[in-house]
Symmetry: C2
Subunit: 121 residues, 2 copies
């Protein structure tokens, strides 16, 4: 039986809303979430998990309390567990975010951008 | 302080050997490994971890005992823990493989292609 791969372009064509992650795959206790965003997210941290960002389209910045990381398509970086960070993008950016299943997108900061990811697996 | 992202093109330009994974990042108990390959790997399974494949360049097939998955650049698939599989590629393929740290590339099958990944973090 031929199985279907997860195709990032197909996933990205299916939605346009920002800061609204879609779970596209799972591996062990981790979720792979595709998200689009523009502008600045809230400062937050995840006490229980590192968080990997892989840029699929566009470019983004991860602000950190002790610096920043600029990421373009084909680049990745891992935010360490507990590190305060703020993702941002001047133009629309699409990224694959990998983290422990159930991680709240805004950490303990909360607010209007807190959301439960859609399950697209 | 500006931190440096992991750039997959830069990583791929640094090596040409096949079936020789390079660890480029870590997240929780997982390693992100970049690997190039061509031809057929050995049938094997990983009893302790799922294994995610994201194709960076080229295309590949993951043969499974009950089917197959064809993957091209910008596509991913997760081999479930314990599932026998055999990666293959007609032309050179570059992939990002994500799995539990310390996972042996050939599982319990062993053989000449068994190798310890290089740590490029």
């Amino acid at each position: 039986m031929k199985k279907k791969a997860v195709n990032f372009s197909e996933i990205l064509a299916r939605f346009s809303e920002h800061w609204s992650p879609k779970i596209v795959a799972r591996m062990n206790d981790c979720e792979f979430r595709v998200v689009k965003f523009q502008g600045e997210f809230v400062w937050h941290s995840h006490e229980e998990t590192d968080e990997a960002f892989i840029v699929l389209e566009g470019s983004m910045t991860i602000q950190l309390r002790d610096g920043r990381v600029d990421l373009s398509e084909g680049e990745m970086w891992v935010v360490p567990k507990g590190a305060e960070h703020r993702p941002s993008a001047e133009s629309v950016c699409s990224a694959l975010v990998i983290e422990t299943a159930g991680t709240v997108n805004t950490g303990k900061t909360g607010g209007d951008l807190t959301t439960t990811p859609d399950d697209w697996t």
